[in-house]
């Protein structure tokens, strides 16, 4: 005997991202703002001049990638249980990517899923983490290995928050913009080569362009069965670098910058990019004061670490490689010897 469960249906997870000064908004529910002490100290009063709610709670987590773990998730969940949040309650992620990912993940598992809104305060989270619905946390095995796909109800990008952003943090955000330009949009790359992003109007345009580029990819492949993997350009290498340096030496975007340099060396070996093109990428990274070198201590252990990365299949590692500038290839069968000789290069002088 057989019973079919026909769960085929239209699901609408659409949402709007506004790039603008915040507007007044009132929630007729319980709301928890999840943030960290640094963001709260700088910007909570500004935020609260726009947000009101039937009941408002502030949950403050320790600041930093090293707190993107089960303990912080438990802190959020326990607070929600203690304050009797229900399925109609709302979470607001107010901070960078760490806060956004953890807030989204907590929202996805609290009572099997409640709504959340993103108000990203760093350039990196504005252009990257706030689009696409990836949520999660790190554990002893690596970065973002536990998580869920859970789309926000809305994203509010207010460039005001960038006024207090440290130059390194700003550069880290530009690195993610460059990632999208190099893999999908040569015009955007050239815009970023020419533009002065201190100009607020040009910066807002760049944010919009980055958000649109990422959105177009996510819409085609929400759960990363194919194309979306292209957004991990530079990340396969970056995750190993971040692990090796305990997330202390580089900001995420900085590790991605180095990762793109490494990926491009693979592209060069495979004839996908010219020496001129990889130099052009290196130049633009340097324009935005991003790091372009890293000393690999042990190529073998660096290579082995790829297999702990979740984007990897059983026996092969997936590499996301730029093809010229503005195109991307996802390749599963790169010869280990090609990768090893690239890794060895970074073990020498650089």
């Amino acid at each position: 005997m057989q019973v079919n469960i026909p769960l085929k249906k239209v699901v609408d997870n659409s949402y709007d991202i506004s790039i603008d000064t915040l507007k007044k908004i009132h929630f007729d529910t319980k709301v928890a703002i999840i943030t960290n002490p640094k963001v709260a100290g700088l910007h909570l009063s500004y935020l609260l001049s726009f947000i009101s709610a039937k009941e408002l709670y502030i949950i403050t987590l320790s600041d930093g990638e090293e707190y993107k773990n089960q303990e912080s998730i438990d802190t959020i969940l326990e607070s929600l249980f203690n304050h009797r949040f229900n399925r109609k309650s709302m979470l607001i992620a107010f901070g960078g990517g760490v806060i956004g990912d953890m807030t989204g993940y907590a929202a996805s598992i609290y009572q099997r899923g409640i709504d959340f809104i993103q108000i990203p305060t760093t350039l990196l989270s504005q252009v990257d983490a706030s689009v696409g619905g990836k949520t999660g946390m790190n554990n002893a095995y690596g970065k973002n290995l536990i998580g869920a796909f859970h789309q926000p109800k809305a994203v509010f990008i207010d460039p005001y928050f960038l006024n207090t952003l440290a130059p390194r943090e700003f550069g880290a955000g530009v690195a993610e913009m460059l990632k999208m330009a190099i893999t999908f949009d040569k015009d955007f790359f050239e815009f970023l080569e020419d533009a002065d992003l201190n100009d607020k109007e040009l910066l807002a345009q760049a944010i919009k362009k980055a958000v649109e580029t990422k959105a177009s990819v996510v819409v085609k492949d929400e759960k990363e069965h194919g194309l979306r993997a292209a957004l991990n350009y530079g990340h396969t290498f970056a995750h190993v670098i971040e692990n090796e340096t305990n997330y202390k030496e580089f900001l995420h975007g900085e590790a991605v910058a180095i990762g793109m340099i490494m990926a491009n060396e693979v592209s060069l070996s495979l004839g996908l990019m010219s020496r001129d093109e990889i130099l052009r990428v290196k130049n633009i990274l340097q324009k935005y004061n991003l790091p372009t070198s890293y000393k690999i201590k042990n190529s073998n252990s660096f290579y082995d670490a790829f297999f702990l990365d979740k984007k990897s299949s059983d026996e092969s590692v997936t590499f996301i490689l730029a093809k010229a500038i503005g195109e991307v290839e996802i390749i599963n069968n790169v010869e280990p010897s090609v990768i090893m000789s690239v890794l060895d290069k970074f073990g020498d002088v650089k």
Copy 2:
């Protein structure tokens, strides 16, 4: 400036439930069977005569509702990480509802979601937990308060496993069948009044009918925005009873049986059921040796505990009430005094 992320699309989470002797099946991936020592001792060799895989792992969790917690989830996840499971790997839940819920939850958060299959070994999990995609675990605040909606790829119900089921466990499964009959299908109720479920053919028919009834509800309301809440008939009371008795005195189905008796008293007070109808329900519960009484020590604390249950909204508790036999009403605004006087009844002699 505004960017819309148009994530509206057709999602197909359909799957088949077979009610039959298992068939041979080979997986060309890594597979982990999640089970407990009792089920493994009785039935693992039988299962392994059907299942083969490229790589097969067995993860054995302690048996019992009290182990449906973060520690057990961590045990699963750590094993998957240690064995380098990837997004194409498969989990198989082999046991009762506890194993099914935890396996599904672990599958939903491992690398943002991998596939799983249910092979339920108790009557309760065959008719209830294996249909609908609710996954989760308990925590200090209550039952199933952390979790996700994650549909299995397939469910294999093999009545063979019921041969070793203890009579109380069997009765607990019948209680969930009765829940579905009382709320949705008078014919099914009368079938269960008349049938001898020791007859294997009648039992298979009853399982199929229960699965179909639940499926028809889940298909209309996968994420419990409305109708699906009706499947919680008896459960609002049962969860409090289970908490008060530390999940030790009653099996889940037994607590649901008592919960249905309590809910029916509310129906009686509101004129939704007649005295004859609630007696008929009591009789059928007794036919299947299910408990129908419980001594409430403190009506006030019993009432307060409703508000920790996730089905509750801010200020009111949702009650799922039978209307006659075969129909259901979901009511948000039952006067607290009505509930209190029902609870007080159970504080007396019963």
